[in-house]
Amino acid sequence: MADTAERTKKDFSSDQEPRWCPGCGDYAILAAVQSFMPELGVAPENTVFVSGIGCSGRFTYYMDTYGFHGIHGRAPAIATGIVTANPALNVWVVTGDGDALSIGGNHLIHVLRRNVNVKILMFNNQIYGLTKGQYSPTSEVGKVTKSTPFGSVDRPFDPVALALGAAATFVARTIDNDRQHLTEVLRQAAAHPGAAFVEIYQNCNVFNDGAFDLLRDRSQGAHNQIRLVHGEPIVFDEGARCVRLGANGRLEIAAVADTDPGAIITHDVHGPPSLAFTLAQLSQGPTEPTCIGVFREVKRDTYGESIHAQLDRATERLGAGDLTSLLHGGDTWTV
């Protein structure tokens, strides 16, 4: 699939002018993706972007690749059909918190469970933007919106924990305005053979401005982003704080100064899912210090590989199908 042709951002940018609200986090993500795509060495014609409904759904129109803007929540299913039919394609799904976790929740968990070879970028802005500001399945309890004037009583999902629970083989979180971190996560997702789930904290400056300030804002982010790096001790806040095993067996945040260096958790993306799951639950949401980076990355056969291996095995065992033999199989009689 990879080739050596020289390509630039322009080769992946369509002639359509993006029509998100000025200041939307989606612009930064689009620019990062368009700039990153040439790195993969995959021609635009071998690349497909599939999206659902919501502000993120527009993404497909701005990529000069093959694109399918589907219906609400179903992008993972459409993408499953595309990449299972043609496993040579480089298939990306662009979705949002409402699209992926509410109306399309069932398809998300199953695309992850099956390990379909698609890269899922979930723009999480904790709000319904396109329908003009109702709470989403990632909005915090008490959220006041047009549909919850007295505050939302729904408990939110943690998308990373949900993906891990669905046995995803690659799970990561990044932030729209951190181009370097975002690109590095995209790079690792693209290199992962199988379903890659990437949650991107994305600021909706119209309906939910500042939801991620604690992490997005340069000065606050420096203290509150817990950057996960495989094989390294989990230390943040400019080296002042760390994640360690607490007395009750849970992970806890502590001052490095008060911690025996041996007790600091070393991040391991290939280990048992329990570590990743616990890290995902470390904060109650992006209003507290929160982990970003790759939570988990393990190898498992992809759905498309398994499907096509089965076709090959059947053909090897039974010979290539012959229609006449099929119709004449079983009892026949001649008149």
Partner: protein, 611 residues
């Protein structure tokens, strides 16, 4: 001592027993032997929704009916000449299906007071006059089977289970069926378990010999082979024919077949059958839900494959939004709806033709979809091929309507010459010197099918309205009207590729036309033939394509003073015909979860002729 043989033109036999009694298998084997004899035939399996309802209850009765004849068979038969009832519940459930004066063969051993009570009989029907007017034959099937199997030394329970083979042996004798096909089949099935094989053969032979020696049966019946076109035949059920038709469409188009579905009665057999044929390159995906199945198939269609999803009524509802997406993205895709009794969960194992209007109108917006319906089990093969032709040529989703009856029913099928089947050119787009227009149209109004992986043709499709030709998103009012009309005209234009409506009117001066669609074709044919035999001048026509209808349908229907439309629904085609053609079509409607019977139509045709 051999008994005399009475020759008969046609016979209807019904096997009925508990769900666990193996009645479907018994019927299937009897059908096979009958097909090999060269009789024309039609079958009707009739089973409950419960996997294993409480044994011995009326809810748990499973039945299989077959009509076989020395001449044309159009239906599984209105009424059974012989009912084999393995227990009181089977007798209670199915006595109403037996012709007056018909024969009841009862498993005497099962008529215990406890079983009579479970079946809901207050008194024994064998002695209270309930069976007056029938020819009742009681055979202790269970005990004879156990005795016959005894030397093999298997457990009594296992031995008792072979009683369906005893029944099969007895009926095979009654109707002079050959024994070898059944024994060969048992060998194939139980070759690895010699004791079970021996037990089944012993039971089958015991049944056959019982018929020969007992004085309960005066004579055997023989039904001669039917005169049919020469060729190689097999017996085929609708679900097989449909699956094979899709595989044939894949072979004749060169497109890999991709089937995505969610298990649902009665469409699951299609998934089962297709998943067996992976060596034909058939991908089958059992999706997480109905909506996913439709979208997975649509993704495969975008990727350039022969994409199919299958379902029944409830699933058709769930897939509606995706079918609309397939319609506006103008991708080739087949949606098979094996109709069952509705609405909602309705009657999952029973038949109905009540999804026609849902297929026609069951989506928001102006969303016309071609609809084709199968007329018989073997016709499912041709319908699948035709649906693929239209889907691919016109870049459109196509709904194939089958139903529970067609899927489970079987008939002899003159096998087609595979090389003579039509080929289908996928005409997938390749880059050229002219700028690529994803929503440009050819002479039939179809847009290019440009599949991912094709250099130079990158484009974006989706559910938002498109600008004509360029495919850019467009909210322009006039463009929307234009696109709506273009999509409508494209689908209407399919009519030009269809043969005109064939009218069967031997005398050429019939005033009454009986018009049907789908699985009632056989019943209507039988009823019309009977009316003609009584001197009635009745014409008959069958609509294979419901949308669009064949060219000239309007004029053809207008020729008749009366148009009668029998359907297993509340008059859905009748509503379409009246609305489309301003014809005062008369509806004949039945909604009992059962195939239409010819004698249900007799009186209506009679009235229509003289009314």
């Amino acid at each position: 001592m051999s008994k005399t043989v009475e020759e008969r033109e046609r016979v209807v036999v019904r096997f009925a027993g508990d769900s666990g009694d193996g009645m479907q298998l018994t019927g299937d084997r009897f059908t096979n032997a009958t097909a090999l004899l060269g009789n024309d035939l039609a079958t009707l399996p009739d089973f409950p929704a419960e996997i294993r309802a409480p044994a011995g209850t009326v809810h748990g009765v499973s039945a299989f009916q077959i009509q076989f004849a020395a001449s044309d068979v159009a239906t599984p038969g209105d009424h059974a000449d012989v009912l084999v009832a393995m227990n009181p519940a089977a007798l209670k459930a199915d006595l109403g299906t037996v012709a007056k004066g018909g024969t009841l063969i009862l498993n005497e051993d099962a008529f215990t007071s406890r079983n009579l009570e479970k079946a809901g009989y207050a008194s024994d029907p064998r002695s209270d006059g309930a069976l007056d007017g029938f020819h009742v034959v009681q055979v202790p099937m269970t005990s004879i089977t156990v005795r016959a199997v005894e030397p093999i030394g298997i457990a009594k329970k296992e031995a008792e289970r072979a009683k369906n083979m005893f029944a099969l042996g007895l009926i095979s004798w009654m109707y002079s069926r050959p024994t070898e096909p059944t024994i060969t089949w048992l060998e194939r099935k139980f070759g690895g378990k010699p004791e079970i094989f021996d037990a089944n053969v012993a039971a089958f032979t015991a049944g056959y010999n019982f018929g020969e020696t007992t004085e309960l049966f005066a004579h055997q019946v023989s039904v001669k082979a039917a005169p049919v076109a020469p060729g190689i035949y097999r017996n085929v059920a609708g679900s097989q024919a449909l699956a094979w038709g899709l595989i044939a469409a894949s072979a004749r188009s060169g497109l890999p077949l991709f089937y995505a579905s969610y298990p649902i009665t009665p469409a699951s057999d299609l998934l089962h059958e297709l998943s067996r044929h992976k060596n034909f390159g058939v991908v089958t995906v059992q999706a997480e839900d109905e909506i996913a199945a439709a979208n997975v198939a649509l993704g495969a269609a975008f990727a350039g494959q022969l994409a199919v999803t299958g379902t029944s009524g409830p699933g058709l509802d769930l897939k509606a939004e995706t079918i609309g997406l397939a319609m506006i993205t103008e991708l080739p895709m087949i949606i098979v709806d094996v109709q069952r009794g509705g609405p909602s969960t309705g009657l999952p194992t029973k038949t109905e033709q009540s999804d026609l209007l849902a297929a026609m109108f069951g989506r928001h917006g102006e969303s016309p979809i071609p609809i084709v319906a199968a007329a018989s089990p073997s016709d499912c093969f041709d319908v699948a091929l035709d649906a693929a032709r239209v889907a691919i040529r016109y870049r459109t989703p196509v709904i194939v309507l089958s139903d529970s009856f067609l899927q489970n029913s079987s008939e002899p099928w003159l096998l087609p010459d595979v090389e003579a089947l039509p080929t289908i050119d996928p005409m997938q787009a390749v880059a050229s010197d002219t700028p690529f227009l994803p929503y440009g149209r050819d002479e039939v109004g179809a847009r290019p099918w440009a599949i991912p992986g094709t250099p130079g043709l990158q484009h974006r499709i989706g559910g938002l309205e498109r600008e004509h030709a360029t495919g850019a998103i467009s909210y322009d009012p006039e463009n929307h009207e234009l696109m709506t009309r273009l999509r409508r005209d494209k689908v209407n234009g399919i009519a030009a590729s269809l043969p005109p409506l064939d009218i069967d009117d031997p005398t050429g001066d019939a005033e009454l036309l009986v018009l049907g669609w789908g699985s009632t074709a056989g019943t209507i044919r039988a009823a019309v033939q009977r009316a003609r035999a009584n001197g009635g001048k009745v014409a008959r026509a069958h609509l294979r394509w419901l949308h669009p209808m064949p060219p000239g349908t309007d004029a053809v229907l207008g020729r008749f003073r009366k148009v009668l439309i029998p359907e297993i629904n509340d008059g859905q085609l009748a509503m379409l015909v009246r609305a489309r053609f301003l014809i005062d079509a008369q509806s004949f409607s039945r909604m009992q979860g059962q195939p239409l019977m010819a004698d249900e139509l007799d009186e209506t045709i009679e009235e229509a002729l003289h009314g």
